[in-house]
Amino acid sequence: MTSDTAVFPMPLIVSGGTARVGAAGLREDDREAIQACQHGEREAFDRLVERYQRDVYRLCFRYVNNHHDASDMAQEVFLKAYRAIAKFRGDSSFSTWLYRIAVNTCLNFKAARKVPAEELSEHVADGAAPVLERLERDERSQRVREAVARLPEKQRATLILKVYQDLTHEEVAGILGSSVGTVKANLFHALANLRKALGQGVEA
């Protein structure tokens, strides 16, 4: 989750004070959009998609490690969210609810088919970095992503939600339906396994 959507645990104001957070961690602008959706305004859902598309896409990408599948899965996540939004009661933040859907979608996806190789051509090159430096960084990133993709399910989900989506242990526990202690244990093993898998090959 990017900093502008980090709603836990502290109240947050972004974009000129439009994104106030309620007691349950639900942003005011999310609440308005959700209520509009629940009253049948489909355009309001577009606003939610626009707000969270990048976070959901990035979470999916961490799972499948390629653009095409990440895009398909992110679409699926929003489709499921739209169908279930009538049941959303605001007990958690919208992003936490969305991530729970995303994690389940990712787990189902893995069961459905194998992960193909990444398609780099569809991504925007960072023109500022020198070519060699950029290639080395991309290669390093790719190796780490592959190692993350090989972690056991729970460890991978925990690592992605905690390290990349920047959620708290409590939020991760809520999404994965486990205790905070289990989340910490899975995170520790994920990090140790990552170090073991990459060894000295990637400079830390």
Partner: protein, 189 residues
């Protein structure tokens, strides 16, 4: 602070140490315990490594297209992605298996016996060629001294007489040869 067997720190306490929120007790233990420090040193670089993995940023045009696709799928104008359709495969296969099983268990009328049109008869097989085509007879005729053909052989009485007539063998040779031929042919004169 939760301790595991041997009085060492558990994973949750080690993560708290990494987060900088561990209790004073845990910090004190980690400072003096080689085992716990070694475990920490395994995990801390893992976090550094994990942070090196950037997700490539899609084209700015991608997001507009993405929202359009989500919108179309919500409106039901776009099919599910291929992987989603494949996910229904096992259920379809199970349904097909049930249908096949039901079809096999249903009582059926005996199938009508079809009579195939008679095919032209095949020639009977014979290990021996016809007399006209048998080169062995020509060879036999060639080795019979003074014979112009099979005439004398056709007229002889019994196998022994034929052999005597054809090869002018001695009586003893004829007897041995006759016996051998009888054994070979399984016949008695």
């Amino acid at each position: 602070m939760r301790r595991v067997t041997g009085g060492h720190l558990g994973e949750d306490a080690l993560i708290d140490l990494m987060d900088g929120v561990a209790s004073a007790d845990a910090r004190e233990h980690a400072a003096s315990c080689l085992h716990c420090r070694a475990r920490l040193e395994q995990a801390v670089p893992g976090l550094e490594l994990a942070r090196q993995a950037d997700v490539p940023e899609p084209s700015p045009l991608f997001w507009q297209s993405f929202r359009s696709q989500v919108d179309r799928r919500i409106a039901g104008r776009d099919p599910a992605p291929v992987w989603k359709r494949f996910a229904a495969g096992p259920w379809l296969a199970a349904a097909a298996a049930v249908l096949v099983a039901v079809a096999l268990l249903l009582p059926r009328a005996p199938a009508p016996v079809s009579v195939a049109p008679s095919a032209p008869g095949l020639p009977a097989w014979s290990a021996l060629p016809s007399a006209d085509e048998d080169p062995g007879l020509d060879i036999l005729a060639a080795v019979v001294p003074g014979a112009g053909g099979l005439g004398p052989l056709a007229e002889c009485q019994g196998l022994g007489d034929c052999m005597t007539e054809a090869a002018a063998l001695s009586e003893e040779e004829t007897a041995v040869l006759t016996e051998a031929l009888r054994r070979e042919l399984g016949t008695e004169s």
